[in-house]
Symmetry: C2
Subunit: 176 residues, 2 copies
């Protein structure tokens, strides 16, 4: 009787033991799975952080470039008007009234040029400069003993740049 009772207890114990082991195995699986999920989310977090940082840097650069050259489209529209302004001013006028009128127009021209310069628009230096294909467009080649080789001898149309960007190259005659 005593032994029989013990056997029953033993069996019960075994059952409990098996259950415990099974639970431990399940828990370990769960721990492993949770670790993997945590790692996966952490990797997504790191990738997203890197994406975000890149986007911010790129945006900042684009913003600076946009701001630097913001006037470009209006400048491009104004340059042909400025060409005509210069051509019109080259006409000689007679008489005091006409001369006063022309002087007034010259002042208006200077004011336009000053407004453009304030925004970073500059004439490209041409005559006497070494020919630079990035800023000068060679329309003619000449042979002129008074200049060295590859030097701009004459400017046929003014060129303009906005800060470091060429908006329109100068049209020039270059010495061979």
């Amino acid at each position: 009787m005593e032994e029989n009772k013990q056997e029953i207890i033993d069996e019960k114990d075994e059952t409990q033991n098996e259950e415990s082991e099974q639970t431990v195995v399940e828990e370990t699986d769960e721990v492993e799975q949770l670790r993997q999920e945590k790692e996966e989310i952490n990797n997504r977090l790191l990738r997203l952080q890197a994406d975000y940082d890149n986007f911010r840097r790129r945006t900042q650069k684009e913003k600076e470039a946009d701001r630097k050259y913001r006037s470009q489209s209006l400048v491009e529209e104004l340059i042909p008007a400025l060409d005509n302004f210069e051509r019109a001013l080259q006409v000689e006028v007679d008489g005091d009234a006409a001369k006063n009128f022309a002087n007034g127009m010259k002042m208006v021209y200077d004011q336009f040029k000053a407004a453009l310069e304030k925004e970073g628009v500059e004439e490209i230096p041409a005559k006497g400069e070494e020919f630079d294909p990035h800023m000068h467009q060679a329309i003619m080649q000449v042979e002129d003993e008074n200049y060295e080789s590859n030097i701009v001898v004459e400017e046929l149309q003014k060129g303009y740049r906005l800060k470091d960007r060429v908006i329109r190259p100068s049209m020039v005659k270059v010495n061979q």
Copy 2:
């Protein structure tokens, strides 16, 4: 002897059982901790995603506004020159040569205006319009039977807007 052995086995079993229970408790703690960590990282991921989305939206809006009003600073510089251009053109000139010169200048003026209009610059309508404090600056109040109350009677200086943004209000006389 038989009983004694059983007791030893029993004791051993008990020890094993305790160990198993302890392991289960530890595993449960670890599962709980991992769950919390996973949840925390997941929350950081969600917050970062929301931040990133907001930043992208804000950046896009800023970019559009920057682009829309990109010419503003150059336009502000050019408006006083345009005023002087108009004033200079109002001078009457005598003689064919001077008249030709003045006509040439009028064409240059039109070209400037067209370039500005292409970029979205418009004169603010004033004379005959209802007074609008967002676009008109009242310099004088008059009493004029020919106009209704609160109507702009005369424009003293042109106003300009760039798209929907007032760059300079018109200076006007308003009917009481």
